[in-house]
Subunit: 199 residues, 4 copies
DNA sequence: TATGAATGAGGGTTCATTCAT
DNA sequence: GATGAATGAACCCTCATTCAT
């Protein structure tokens, strides 16, 4: 008689909301996007939205978490690749255009928010942690193979590389006419020269 | 009755408001800081504030303009310095701690806003333009002196260096324990290796 | 398929809901307690609750009815007691502490509500009626036995005694340090002196 | 040039709001009366109302405070009256009808709220304190003159008398047809018999 | 029976802005 | 120049209630 709980549907709805929220945040910012906008975007009444999330903060936080883990997922499964720089910059290489990068602009929202909101800051740190360890290991392996300058502190270098990758979407904002492919190559060149062993 | 010669006072008040706004934006974000907060911070009534600025947008825009030009002012007056990398990273070298960098966090607000607001985007582009030209000239001069790799496109390289400098305040957000001095050195090393002529 | 003989279960569930509602009303007030709170307290879904009651008002009304009749039930079965004052104040004497009295606080909610809501006012009047008649009869019997001042209008006196009993839970709110036993004795003394025949 | 602060006008507006709120609370209860209702009643926009009060709670609290102090103000200035009972029940005697008493019904709202809200409870206690001391002094003076039973604890007796006075508005709710004058006399009689010295 | 998805009006509150003085 | 009174739309969120299953 009683309807069974269908957690998959529940989870689907949550994802639907998160995607709608992501679009709104992209268009209007974390604070500028209102619950009622998200509701319209998700074709859902406000009362119902609160059935799935306890508040706006929770939406932002889960969105941030999933967004960041997706953003950095490119690194995984590429550990066997030979060229270290290619692995490190796989995220950039996986993008096809500035439109893709534009989609990343939500990172700025998060960085701005992280400066004032400890919870967002922790989410950011937690997500960076995993990637940083991955990059660090890759660098260490590269050093062992003689492909990476052995004098570099792999921990700090990894952190900086993440920052650089995350800064890439900045370029079109500061330099409207820039070409996507060329800037990608430029970053790669810089990283490669940075890492290669000094003779 | 007619008072004509007090435009200096007028300008002083505007600056006072802009500084108050800057502090509020730093604490609460561009959207999170309200006019009434800014009024309190500037010890001024809302009606009076609107005597100096036509609205919140105008405050944000002028604040952005002045903030960005101040941020990049370090480059000027250092053109005669010998070491190219030092010139290029003078902004970073002028900071003494992450606290100084924290003050730069407002840049994230602006980058986030620039993604959606054309006027802010233009202000950002206009300000970057000047610095980019400056950096570009420095790079060209460096190439002429044989200190910079001649194969690099100076325009694009300059743009990327700005992005890197602007990404620096990201680091403590992603990697809470990082040391300020070491990360500064790491960035410098990377840039130097990137630019030096290939043999 | 047809089940007919489960009206007891139906009634049980209704009581369960009423008890849960009572607890919520006590904690948050008639207007402050929400249906969803009551649902949680009764471990029941909102859809199900509406299977037993047509709405919040109905819950309040039946709760009020049962609460009031329970509150005044003490009077019954004590008619043969000799001392008139003891009968009249049996409700107060049946309480053991202010905790019990606290449980009576819901009466204030009802009195407040009765001031604006005619249906609650009627429920209150109807319940008081029964008790008032009971008290009135007790007083008349007392007058016949010469234990109660014969000049008192028994109807009005009964009404006032109910008000006094109902006002008892007020005391700890107004006089936080008061002792329960002493205030009980004080009320009894007052009532006894009031009722006793004048010589 | 700058307009002077006119604190009297500010205070006037606050009183205007409090009166509007009082009427709304009387009609719909403390929780049932909404800010927007109060705004309509006070002919004022919601934004403006928050210029005078930081929130609904503050309105309730100040209203409660002023209401209670007004309610008990009758006692003052009657200390020289000869008859103790008359002084003690001056509040009841000052009313002319149940309509006057109806206006007191807001007390039930406050009593109900006091059961859950510590701040309201404190306001209630603080206001009762003053009156209780006044009554207590009156009783002590009456004992000295031999008009009041010397065996009564004046503190507790005073507390109970307040409760009785406050319970008076209950009567028409429980007994719709009751006569105002007669019930007033009845209460007075009871109090007088209670207090008079025992021979 | 029983569930929880779904609604949309309304809750208290804050907002950028304008106005009379 | 300067004040703070005044607005009303919009903010996030909760409500009592209904519906499909």
């Amino acid at each position: 008689m009683a309807r069974k709980l269908v957690p998959e549907q529940h989870e689907e709805k949550r994802q639907l909301i998160l995607e709608a929220a992501h679009r709104c945040f992209l268009r209007h910012g974390l604070q500028g996007a209102s619950i009622s906008m998200i509701c319209k975007e998700a074709a859902m009444s406000p009362g119902h939205l609160y059935h799935y999330f306890p508040g706006k903060e929770a939406i932002i936080e889960q969105m941030a978490d999933e967004y960041l883990s997706a953003l950095h997922k490119h690194f995984e499964g590429q550990r066997e690749t030979r060229d270290v720089a290619t692995v490190l910059l796989s995220e950039i290489w996986s993008m096809n255009s500035w439109d893709d990068a534009a989609h990343c602009r939500i990172l700025f929202e998060l960085l701005a928010e992280a400066g004032r909101n400890e919870r967002i800051r922790n989410i950011l740190a937690r997500n960076s942690d995993g990637v940083r360890r991955l990059l660090s290991d890759t660098l260490t392996a590269g050093q062992a193979r003689g492909e990476v300058d052995a004098s570099l502190n792999t921990e700090h270098t990894a952190a900086m590389l993440i920052a650089i990758v995350d800064a890439a979407p900045m370029l079109p904002l500061m330099l409207p006419g820039i070409d996507f492919d060329e800037s990608r190559k430029l970053i790669t060149t810089m990283v490669r020269r940075f890492l290669e062993p000094r003779q």
